[in-house]
Every structure is written in structure tokens, then in C-alpha cells.
């Protein structure tokens, strides 16, 4: 008996080791890609953020400055501060509004009888358009006096005003994003067992109660996934700035990623651009980690 058990134990251990090896082997391609295209560039960005590397050092080569680029960012770079703050607002507004709108649209398209696919396509197509095309469409909408909105409110100059530009762009971002998010909720809704609704009905729940006590909790995994996507989107979607405002007026619509572009390419300031990049990476990593760990425990996996 003893030996038998030992033998099985040994075989198990061997099998385990083999599967571990196999697992590593199968992970290898994605790990290489991750290392080359994600980890190495991050390391390089961290390294380059420690140098003064701009037009004035082009001939002499980069100069080591330690953490000076970071100190400057947080103590005296007004544009960075503004972009940082703008990004927070965009995240705080676009995430809940995209999610709310997407759930509403998903529920509606599920309810609608005739022309269901037409409605879905209508909601989804903004997500298919490239951001640059979207930016040009909305540039026309927002053109004062003779743009689409100009016919309704000729005095509105939303993109030329520091108080309104951010909100005008947020509306566009939500419009673009909500249809995409809706797709996840449609599939999430299809995963909910109809029996649960029947049970709720028997218990006397009305449709609002059914939503809050059945639909919404059952959509939790989708919501977590969607939150991460919309969170990263809030920091990633900057293409429209290039077309619409260049971050202006007075940097009122600037965002961190676009600031990286401006610093790195318009101004050839690689050192500062790298420092902002590192800050951006840290923000996104933190947000993802926090979201993952705090919400995971309260999830009902279907």
C-alpha cells in the first residue's frame, strides 16, 4: 500500500511538472510579444525619463538629470496639471455615462420586436468608425453658425470656449463608445437564465425590481470588464484632439496621452514625454489593479 501510494504520488508529481512545462511553453509566444512590445518599451521609457533630451541636447546627446523631469512635472508644469485633471474628469464622466447608456440600449434592443438588428446596427456603428472620421463629423456638427448645431444655436462656439470644449468632446466620446459597450451587455443579457425572471415574477417583483435584483447583479462580470475598457479608453482616446482642438484653447481639452505626443514629436522633448508616459502607465496599472481586486470578490459568475 505504502509503495503504491508513493508511486502514484511520484507519477502525479511528474505529470504536474510536465504540464507546468507545457504551460510555460504555450505561454512563451505571448510572453515574448509582451516582453518585446510592452515590457521593454516601458523599461526604456523609465530609463529615458531620467535624461534631459530635447532640441538643445540634440548635438551633445542626452544629459542625466535623475528625477528632475518628474519634479518639474508635478511642481511647475501647468499643462501637465491641466491634462491630468482633464483626464480625471473624462474618466469620471464617460465611464458611468457610457455604461448607463449601453445598458439602456442593450435592454431596449432586447425588447424591441421588429427591426432588432437595424436598431443594434444603428447603435453600434459609431464604434466602427475610425476616431479621425468621427472627429471630422463632429467638427462639422460643432462648426459655429453654419454647422449642424449652428442651425439650432448659432451663438454656440463650443470648441472655442475653455468652459465648454471639454464637455463637447465628452459627448462625442460617449456617443462613440456607448455602442461598443452595448455589445458586451447584449451578450451578458443573453447569459442570464430566464428562470430567474420567472422566479422573480412569482415572488411578485415588478420590472424595476427585476432589473435591480436580477439583471444588474448578473451583469456584474460584464460591468467589471467594461469598466476596465472604458477606464483605459478615457486615457487612450486622443486622436480627435489632433483633428479638433490640438488640446486647446489654452489646453482646456488637453489630455495626458496627447501631451506625450506634443512633447515627443511637436517639441522633440523625449525626456519629458517619457516621464509623462511613465506617469500614465502607473495611473492605468493602479486603476486596473484596484478595480480587479475590489470588485472580484463581489462578483456572481454566471
Amino acid at each position: 500500500m505504502q509503495t503504491n501510494i508513493q508511486r502514484i504520488d511520484q507519477a502525479n508529481r511528474l505529470k504536474k511538472r510536465r504540464t507546468t512545462w507545457l504551460a510555460w511553453l504555450m505561454l512563451l509566444p505571448s510572453m515574448i510579444i509582451l516582453a518585446v512590445f510592452t515590457l521593454y518599451p516601458i523599461g526604456e521609457s523609465v530609463y529615458m525619463s531620467l535624461f534631459k533630451n530635447n532640441m538643445s541636447t540634440f548635438v551633445t546627446g542626452p544629459v542625466w538629470v535623475g528625477l528632475q523631469n518628474y519634479v518639474n512635472l508635478f511642481t511647475r508644469d501647468a499643462v501637465f496639471k491641466k491634462a491630468f485633471y482633464n483626464n480625471l474628469i473624462i474618466a469620471a464622466v464617460t465611464i458611468p455615462s457610457s455604461v448607463t447608456l449601453a445598458v439602456a440600449m442593450a435592454l431596449f434592443t432586447n425588447k424591441v420586436g421588429r427591426g432588432k438588428s437595424f436598431v443594434r446596427v444603428a447603435y453600434f456603428y459609431p464604434a466602427l468608425l475610425p476616431m479621425v472620421a468621427v472627429a471630422n463629423i463632429w467638427l462639422f456638427i460643432y462648426t459655429p453658425m453654419y454647422g449642424l448645431l449652428g442651425y439650432i444655436a448659432p451663438t454656440w462656439r463650443l470648441l472655442e470656449n475653455v468652459d465648454t470644449v471639454q464637455w463637447a468632446l465628452i459627448i462625442m466620446l460617449v456617443w462613440k463608445q456607448a455602442g461598443y459597450v452595448m455589445i458586451f451587455y447584449i451578450s451578458g443579457l443573453q447569459g442570464i437564465d430566464q428562470e430567474m425572471y420567472e422566479a422573480a415574477k412569482i415572488d411578485g417583483a415588478n420590472s424595476v425590481q427585476a432589473f435591480w435584483h436580477v439583471t444588474w447583479p448578473m451583469l456584474k462580470p460584464t460591468t467589471i470588464y467594461v469598466m476596465i475598457i472604458t477606464m483605459t479608453n478615457a486615457y487612450k482616446m486622443v486622436d480627435h484632439l489632433y483633428i479638433m482642438t490640438k488640446g486647446g484653447p489654452d489646453n482646456a481639452s488637453n489630455m495626458l496621452l496627447f501631451y506625450v505626443y506634443q512633447k515627443a514629436f511637436d517639441q522633440s522633448n523625449v525626456g519629458v514625454a517619457s516621464a509623462v508616459t511613465v506617469v500614465l502607465i502607473v495611473i492605468l496599472l493602479l486603476a486596473t489593479v484596484v478595480q480587479f481586486y475590489t470588485q472580484d470578490k463581489r462578483t456572481f459568475y454566471a
Binding site: 462656439r157 484653447p249 511637436d266
Partner: protein
């Protein structure tokens, strides 16, 4: 079966090699170029490159549209930093100091050593050479060059009881006329603004600011050597304050009207007067459904305008035959008065050589359309466009400050003082 396959593979490989074998005979040059006006100058540039290729079959210039002037600078700098230096580029004249500090430019004087070459180099308008020469050497050859001119809608002038042949000549007149040309509906909303001088960063805010400093006895906002800026000078602040007062007094749209829509605002008759580059003249002429006129910019104490536009640059670090080919192309483009004149007629840009204005086609065109000469006539009052070391960074500071002033987040004085401090922090490295 295996043999056929092998043969097929060899054939494919050989076919693949053909372009490389041929490429040795023809020198191919990629040329980045910017477009910042309407009316499709990109098609004209492509046509010119084709024409050149027909005359010089062994050189082929491939024009690569690179976006705005800033975008073109970005792309060329990125190419240089990646080790793919182009032999030639059509870029902003004001990129001179930045490119010079990077030590990537050839000067033309060392190529144009013979008499014909010298005659070519010295045959451009002096006004355009201000942004093209440095330390007695020529680094840029003027091509799509301009001054800012005032376009005005003559029909609206008549409607408002103003003489369409007497456009405003002073700041005070400009504001007075603009107020008369502004139209409001019954609810008090403005449906048409009197004047528009675009002030967005995506356009050329710093350039438009120069129209309000150079008209004060030719006061310019930077030193000729590109290491000092005068943003906090009372004259700069005064210019900006006047510009903003046009909005405050209701005859210019509030905020930062866009460079890119200013021409269509004018064509849609939503503004009566606009400041814009002469490079849009042919575009406006083709698309205006009303009678319009052009004139030099209104003066405070003097006439004045910055020059503007793009030059040809030659870059170091490429094979010699490519540089020679590029040099041949640039000379072909800019030396023939007929060609220079035709380019001016097709676009509205100023012909860069006086002799182009003596060609019959230019004389005929100007007789028919006198506005074709407005920008050239203004050249005698023209000064260098804003150009300093580390152009990208300093220009961004100034553009942002102008936006801050125009949108009211800072007073013009505060905006310019802050910009001065920020610009000095950068330029100190070059003094």
C-alpha cells in the same frame, strides 16, 4: 512537381529583384511637403514633380503630403532621429534655427558657386530671404511664400454704406468698419461678424499676433538671431489687447476662431473681413459667390505684415548623388520665372522672384485680377516670421498664451508675461 515548384520560386524571386535593378538607374527622392491652404496645391506639386521627371528621366521626386507645417516638421525630425534623413524637404521657413542647431542642413552657397548659381540665389525677394538666411549663408530656397492680407466682402461694404474701394487702413478704421458690418438678428444674436483674425493653436496664432506688432513701426516679437523673444514688451501686449478688443466689442467672434474654418466662414458670408494668407487667394477667387477685394493690413503707426510659408531644404547625411539630384530639382522649380509665375497664379502665393512679375502671363493675370499683386506690394513693409531656436516648444508657449488671452482665462498682459518667462527658460540654452 517539386521541380516546377522550385522553378516557380526562382522566377518569383527574380521578378522581385527587378525593381531593385531598375532603381539603380533612377534616383528616387521622397519629398515631404505641407499644405495649409485650400484649393488643392498638393495636386499642383505632384504635377510639377511629374513634369520634372519628364525633363530629367533619371531623377524621380515623390512628393509625400505630410499635413500642416507643424506636422511636416514633426515627420522630418522623426525621420532624421530614426536615421532616415531625407535628401530634400519642403518645410516651414521658420524651422531654420531649429534645423540649423541640429546641424543637419546644407547651405546652398557651397553648391551655387558659378555665376548662374549666384544669380539664382540672389534673385529672390529680400523679404523672403529673412527667414532663409543665417550667418550670410542661404539654407532655404523660397517656394510657397506669402504675406498676410486682408480679404473683405465688397457686397457687404455696399450694404453697410461703406465704400467698397476704400478698405480700412488703420486699426481704428478696422474696428469702426467691423462694427458697422456686424449684423444681429431680432433676438440680439450676432448672425454675421465684421472681422475675423483666427487665433487657434491648430492654426497660426503667433503669426496673426505679428500682424498687430509689425503694424507698430515694424516691431517684431523676436530678435533677428532667434535667441530672444519680446512677448512682454508693451507693444506686443498692446497688439494682443487690440486683437482681443475686437471680440470684446462684439465685432469679432468670441474665443479662438479657427484658422481652418476662417476661409469658409468668409465664403459662407458669416464674416465680412478676414485676415488670411495670400496663399488662399485663388481658392477664394474660385469659390466666392460675391464681390470681394483684398488690401494690405491696416496700420497702427505703420504698415506691416510677417512673411510666411515654405522653403526647400537640403539635408546632410545622404548619398552625394541624391543631394545633387535634389539640388537640380530645387533649381528647376524656382529658377524659371514662367514656372514661378504660374505657381503664383494657380495658388495666390507670392511669386518669389521679381522677374516673374515681368512675364506676360503674370502681367495679363494681374491686369484681370489686381488682387494678385496685394501681397507682393505689401512685401516692402514685410518682416521675418516668428522664428527662434527650439521653434516647436517656444511657438507652443506663445500660441497657448494667445489662446489664454483670447478666451479670457488670463489678461493679455499676464498671458504674455507668463509666456516670456517660459520661453526664456528654453532659449537660455542657446544664448
Amino acid at each position: 512537381m517539386k521541380k516546377t515548384f522550385f522553378l516557380l520560386l526562382v522566377c518569383l524571386l527574380l521578378i522581385g529583384l527587378v525593381p531593385f535593378v531598375q532603381a539603380q538607374d533612377v534616383i528616387e527622392l521622397d519629398m515631404y511637403f505641407p499644405v495649409s491652404v485650400g484649393g488643392g496645391p498638393d495636386a499642383l506639386i505632384t504635377a510639377l514633380c511629374d513634369e520634372f521627371h519628364q525633363e530629367y528621366p533619371n531623377i524621380k521626386v515623390n512628393p509625400v503630403y505630410a499635413g500642416s507645417y507643424a506636422d511636416t516638421r514633426t515627420k522630418v525630425l522623426a525621420a532624421i532621429q530614426a536615421g532616415n534623413t531625407p535628401a530634400i524637404a519642403l518645410m516651414f521657413s521658420i524651422d531654420l534655427y531649429q534645423l540649423y542647431s541640429m546641424d543637419v542642413l546644407y547651405d546652398y552657397d557651397s553648391f551655387a558657386t558659378d555665376k548662374a548659381g549666384q544669380k539664382w540665389l540672389n534673385g529672390f525677394y529680400d523679404g523672403f530671404m529673412q527667414n532663409s538666411r543665417l550667418n550670410e549663408k542661404t539654407y532655404g530656397i523660397p517656394w510657397q511664400r506669402s504675406t498676410i492680407i486682408m480679404y473683405y466682402n465688397k457686397d457687404m461694404f455696399r450694404e453697410a454704406g461703406l465704400d467698397p474701394e476704400m478698405p480700412p487702413t488703420t486699426w481704428a478704421e478696422l474696428k469702426d468698419y467691423a462694427q458697422k458690418l456686424t449684423v444681429k438678428d431680432a433676438a440680439g444674436n450676432t448672425t454675421r461678424y465684421g472681422v475675423q483674425v483666427p487665433s487657434d493653436k491648430a492654426g497660426y496664432a503667433y503669426w496673426m499676433l505679428q500682424t498687430f506688432t509689425l503694424t507698430q513701426d515694424g516691431f517684431n516679437i523676436m530678435s533677428p538671431d532667434g535667441t530672444e523673444v519680446f512677448f512682454n514688451d508693451p507693444r506686443t501686449i498692446k497688439g494682443l489687447e487690440f486683437w482681443k478688443s475686437l471680440s470684446d466689442d462684439g465685432c469679432q467672434a468670441p474665443g479662438t476662431p479657427k484658422w481652418s474654418t476662417t476661409v469658409s466662414d468668409f465664403l459662407e458670408q458669416k464674416v465680412a473681413i478676414m485676415y488670411h494668407t495670400t496663399g488662399n487667394l485663388t481658392n477664394v477667387r474660385k469659390n466666392a459667390k460675391f464681390d470681394f477685394g483684398t488690401s494690405r493690413l491696416p496700420a497702427d503707426t505703420s504698415y506691416g505684415s510677417p512673411t510666411g510659408g515654405g522653403n526647400f531644404y537640403l539635408f546632410k547625411g545622404v548619398p552625394e548623388e541624391e543631394t545633387k539630384a535634389a539640388y537640380t530639382f530645387i533649381q528647376w522649380m524656382t529658377n524659371n520665372p514662367e514656372r514661378v509665375a504660374q505657381w503664383s497664379i494657380d495658388t495666390g502665393y507670392v511669386a518669389t522672384r521679381p522677374e516673374a512679375y515681368e512675364t506676360q502671363r503674370m502681367i495679363d493675370y494681374a491686369n484681370d485680377f489686381p488682387s494678385a499683386l496685394t501681397a507682393r506690394d505689401q512685401l516692402e513693409f514685410a518682416h521675418a516670421e516668428f522664428s527662434v531656436y527650439d521653434q516647436g516648444a517656444v511657438q507652443d508657449i506663445l500660441d497657448t498664451a494667445i489662446e489664454a488671452a483670447m478666451t479670457g482665462t488670463k489678461t493679455p498682459e499676464k498671458a504674455m508675461q507668463d509666456a516670456q518667462i517660459a520661453a526664456d527658460a528654453i532659449l537660455v540654452d542657446y544664448r
